[in-house]
C-alpha cells in the first residue's frame, strides 16, 4: 500500500487529507484515484506535482515510476504568492 497525501487544490477538491492505495506505478495510482473520485481525470492528474519519497517524479521515471509498499506520495498543485 502507498500513502497518498493531497495538498493545495487537490486536497480541497478530493475533500480528504490522505488515503492509502495499492498501485504498482504512478499511472496506476492516477487511474485508481480517478476511480475512487472522478473529480480529476487521469489527464488532469498528470498535471499535478508528484513527489515520491521527497523526490519529484520528473526526476524519476515520471508516470512509469514504480511504487512500493510504504512509499509516500504527495500530490500538490502549483502555488505562489506571499
Amino acid at each position: 500500500m502507498v500513502k497518498v497525501e493531497f495538498f493545495g487544490l487537490y486536497r480541497l477538491n478530493y475533500k480528504m487529507k490522505e488515503c492509502e492505495i495499492d498501485a504498482a506505478d504512478i499511472m496506476e495510482l492516477f487511474r485508481k484515484l480517478n476511480e475512487m473520485n472522478p473529480v480529476y481525470s487521469v489527464k488532469e492528474l498528470k498535471n499535478s506535482i508528484v513527489i515520491i519519497n521527497d523526490v519529484n517524479f520528473n526526476n524519476l521515471k515520471k508516470y512509469r515510476t514504480k511504487l512500493h509498499d510504504g512509499d509516500n506520495v504527495l500530490i500538490m498543485s502549483p502555488a505562489s504568492g506571499g
Binding site: 486536497r11 480541497l12 521527497d54 504527495l74 502549483p78 502555488a79 505562489s80 504568492g81 506571499g82
Partner: protein, 663 residues
C-alpha cells in the same frame, strides 16, 4: 496645482505637525511622468528632505503617504497605497505598502500624496478632507487597539491608525488601515514619535480619466485575465497565500528553527489547507480585487483576519510550533497591537536561540508557546525589560548579546519565512533589497526558484538578472497602485497548469541561461517598446487612465529609476556594499550538511547584481546610471514653491513701481 494627466488629483500637501499648518507641495507633471506614484514618487519627495543620517524617531523624520494613478480607477487589485519614511528599525529608507480603502479615500478627498513633517506638541489625529487638514485631539484614543481606534474615530472616512506598539515606539510597529497593515519598517513608530495616532481621509470627489471608455474595456479584460490564471483565479482565492507552506517545506525553503533548516517535520499541522478546513469562514479582498486572497477565520467565536504564509512559517516552523490555533491568535494580537508580524516573529526566534546558547535568558524557548501572547503584549507596551529589549528588533539584541552569525536580518530588517539556502536568488535579493530583509523588495525570486516555477534553485546563472528584472517590475507595479499579485499574469498560465509538460520543463531549464538577454533588457529597459496586454496590462491601463503613453520598457525603466533612487538615498544614510550581507548561517553553513550547493554564494551573486544594476564595487550607484535614469540632478520640489512665491512677490512689488514710472 492642477495636472494635465487623468486619474491624478494634481495636489500634494505638506503638513507641518509642529506648527499645525499645511501647504501645497508643487509636484509637477514631469515628476508624475517620471516617478508615477506610490513608493517611487515617495522616494522622489523624500529625496528633498533626507540629506544625511537622521534620528528616525526624531522630529526631522518625514513620512510620505502616496497613492498610485490606478488607485480609484476600478482596475483590478488597484487599492494599494504606500507609506515611506526613514525606518526606526533599519535607519534607512522604508516603504510600506498597504491595501484597503485609504488610497481611494485620499484621492476622493483630492490628494495624490500627503507629506507629514515635524512633531505635534500634543497627541492628535489628522482629518483630511477636500477643505484641508484639521488637527484633532486623540487623547481619548491613547492606548487603544487598532480596530477599536478605527471604530472609535467613526465617520465615513478611511483611516490609517497605530496601536499601542506605535505609541510605545516599538521599532517594527505598523500602521493599520481596515484590517490591512503597512507592516514593514516601523511606520507605526514613526507616527507614534510624531504624536500622531491616526490619519483619516474623507472625500466625495470624482476622478477624471484620459479615455474612460477604453479604461472600462481594459478593466473587464484585465479582470478576466486574472480570473482565468491558475494562480490568481484559483489558488489564491481558494487557499490564500498560506497554500504555499507545504510547497516551501518540500523545496527546503520553509524557515525552521531560526533558519537553521528549511524543513519542519510537523508542517502538516500548520498549512493553508489545514486552515481552510478548520478555521476558514470566507475569503476576502481589498477594494476592486478579483483575487480575494485574504482569509477570514474563526477565532473562539470571533471573526478575524487569518494569517498570511509569512507568519504561518515564522510563528510556526521557525519557532518549532505546530499549533495553528496559536498562530491565528498571535496574528490577531499583533494586528491589534499594531506591530509587524514578520519582524516580531523573527525577533522572537532569534531571542529563543540566544537563550538556547545561554547568551540572554528572555524566557523564550523553541517549542514553548504558552508565554508568547504575554511577550507580545510586553513588547507592544514595553512594559518589562524583556519586552523593551525585544521591541528594538533582532539587530539591537545582537549588538547587546551577540549571536551575529544567526541573527537573521539584513540591514536591521528581519527576513521573511523563505529560507534562502534553498533558493539562492532569493538570498541575493534579501541582501541587496533597499529596505532590508524584505522578500518583496528582494525581487521575490523564490517564485521562480521552486514555488511557481522550478528553475534550478542552487545555480548562480541568471539569478542576478532575474532579481533585477523582478525588482524593477514590482517597483513600477507598486508605484501604479496595484497589488504585486497582478504581476503573476506575467507568467504564461501553461507553466502552472501543465508543470510536467515538456515546454514548461524547457522554460524552467532555459530561464537561468537567458541572463545575457535579460542583462540587455535590464540595462536598457527603454528599448523594450512593446505592450503585451495579457502579460502586463499595467502600461495600457495607465495610458487609458492618465494619458501617459507607456510601453512595458517604459514601465520597467520607471521601476529601475525608483530602485536606484532609493539606493542613492540609502547611500546618503550610510549604506555601502558591506551592508548588503546575509548572516553567516546562510552564506557559510550548508543547509544540508555535505551538499555544498545549499548555501548562498553571496559574493559572486552580488558582483553580478552590482554590474547588472550599474553600481560600482562598493555598491554605489554609478554617475552614468543616475544620468541614464534622469536622477543625477534632481531639484528640490519644495523650493519650486518658494521660488514661485518669491517671484510672485517680486512681481507684485515690481508692478506698482512700474506703474509709477509709466505715470
Amino acid at each position: 496645482m492642477a495636472t494635465k494627466y487623468g486619474a491624478y488629483c494634481g495636489r500634494v500637501i505638506k503638513i507641518d505637525l509642529t506648527k499645525q499648518t499645511w501647504e501645497e507641495y508643487p509636484v509637477s507633471d514631469k515628476d508624475r511622468k517620471k516617478f508615477l506614484g506610490g513608493k517611487i514618487l515617495a522616494a522622489r519627495i523624500l529625496n528633498d528632505f533626507i540629506k544625511g543620517p537622521i534620528d528616525p524617531l526624531g522630529e526631522e523624520n518625514v513620512m510620505v503617504i502616496t497613492s498610485g494613478p490606478l488607485n480609484g480607477t476600478g482596475c483590478p487589485s488597484s487599492s494599494r497605497f504606500n507609506v515611506s519614511a526613514v525606518s526606526p528599525l533599519t535607519g534607512i529608507l522604508t516603504s510600506s505598502n498597504c491595501g484597503g480603502g485609504f488610497a481611494m479615500a485620499m484621492k476622493r478627498a483630492g490628494y495624490d500624496a500627503v507629506i507629514i513633517t515635524g512633531k505635534s506638541p500634543n497627541f492628535i489625529y489628522l482629518d483630511i478632507t477636500a477643505r484641508g487638514v484639521e488637527f484633532k485631539d486623540a487623547e481619548k484614543f491613547r492606548g487603544m487597539l487598532t480596530m477599536d481606534t478605527q471604530k472609535a474615530i467613526g465617520g465615513r472616512g478611511s483611516k490609517l491608525v497605530i496601536g499601542p506598539a506605535g505609541e510605545h515606539l516599538v521599532r517594527y510597529a505598523c500602521a493599520v488601515s481596515d484590517d490591512r497593515a503597512a507592516g514593514r519598517g516601523g511606520i507605526g513608530a514613526v507616527m507614534g514619535s510624531k504624536n500622531l495616532k491616526a490619519v483619516v481621509a474623507t472625500g466625495t470627489g470624482m476622478l477624471e480619466y484620459y479615455d474612460e471608455e477604453r479604461l472600462r474595456e481594459i478593466k473587464c479584460k484585465w479582470t478576466e485575465i486574472l480570473r482565468s490564471h491558475p494562480l490568481t483565479g484559483e489558488q489564491l482565492p481558494k487557499l490564500g497565500t498560506a497554500a504555499l507552506l507545504a510547497s516551501m517545506n518540500q523545496k527546503n525553503i520553509l524557515a525552521t528553527r531560526n533558519f537553521a533548516a528549511g524543513r519542519y517535520e510537523h508542517y502538516r499541522n500548520i498549512t493553508g489547507e489545514e486552515m481552510a478546513e478548520k478555521y476558514l469562514i470566507k475569503n476576502k479582498g481589498c477594494l476592486t480585487c478579483p483575487i480575494q486572497c485574504a482569509r477570514v477565520v474563526d477565532l473562539d467565536g470571533m471573526t478575524v483576519k487569518g494569517p498570511e504564509v509569512e507568519i504561518m512559517g515564522l510563528m510556526g516552523a521557525n519557532i518549532l510550533n505546530d499549533n495553528l490555533y496559536d498562530i491565528i491568535k498571535w496574528n490577531y494580537e499583533m494586528d491589534e497591537l499594531g506591530m509587524d508580524t514578520i519582524s516580531a516573529s523573527g525577533t522572537i526566534a532569534f531571542a529563543m536561540e540566544l537563550n538556547e546558547n545561554k547568551l540572554w535568558d528572555s524566557g523564550l524557548h523553541f517549542g514553548k508557546t504558552d508565554n508568547i501572547s504575554q511577550i507580545l503584549h510586553e513588547i507592544a507596551f514595553r512594559s518589562t525589560e524583556v519586552g523593551d529589549k525585544l521591541a528594538n528588533g533582532s539587530r539591537e539584541l545582537m549588538r547587546e548579546f551577540g549571536g551575529e552569525d544567526y541573527c537573521i536580518q539584513v540591514k536591521g530588517m528581519e527576513l521573511s519565512a523563505y529560507e534562502p539556502r534553498g533558493a539562492v536568488g532569493q538570498g541575493l535579493g534579501y541582501s541587496v533589497s533597499n529596505r532590508g530583509g524584505c522578500h518583496l523588495n528582494a525581487g521575490y525570486e523564490v517564485v521562480v526558484e521552486g514555488l511557481g516555477l522550478t528553475i534550478n534553485p542552487y545555480t548562480k546563472h541568471g539569478k542576478a538578472q532575474i532579481a533585477i528584472m523582478f525588482q524593477n517590475l514590482m517597483e513600477a507595479v507598486s508605484a501604479g497602485g496595484n497589488c504585486l499579485f497582478t504581476t503573476y499574469a506575467f507568467f504564461p498560465p501553461f507553466l502552472f497548469r501543465k508543470p510536467n509538460w515538456f515546454l514548461s520543463k524547457a522554460v524552467n531549464g532555459v530561464l537561468p541561461y537567458l541572463g545575457g538577454v535579460l542583462k540587455i533588457a535590464n540595462k536598457l529597459p527603454g528599448m523594450l517598446k512593446v505592450n503585451l496586454f495579457t502579460m502586463l496590462p499595467h502600461p495600457v491601463a495607465l495610458h487609458a487612465a492618465t494619458g501617459m503613453r507607456l510601453t512595458m520598457g517604459d514601465l520597467m525603466k520607471i521601476g529601475a529609476r525608483g530602485f536606484n533612487l532609493e539606493r542613492s538615498i540609502n547611500q546618503r544614510l550610510g549604506i555601502t556594499a558591506k551592508d548588503d550581507k546575509l548572516p553567516r548561517r546562510l552564506t557559510d553553513e550548508e543547509q544540508i550538511p555535505g551538499d555544498k550547493r545549499t548555501k548562498v554564494p553571496q559574493a559572486a551573486l552580488k558582483k553580478q547584481f552590482y554590474r547588472g544594476r550599474g553600481w560600482d564595487k562598493n555598491g554605489f550607484v554609478k554617475k552614468s546610471t543616475l544620468l541614464y535614469y534622469g536622477i543625477a540632478h534632481l531639484d528640490d520640489i519644495g523650493s519650486r514653491e518658494l521660488e514661485s512665491e518669491f517671484e510672485h512677490r517680486m512681481k507684485k512689488r515690481r508692478r506698482p513701481a512700474r506703474a509709477a514710472k509709466e505715470s
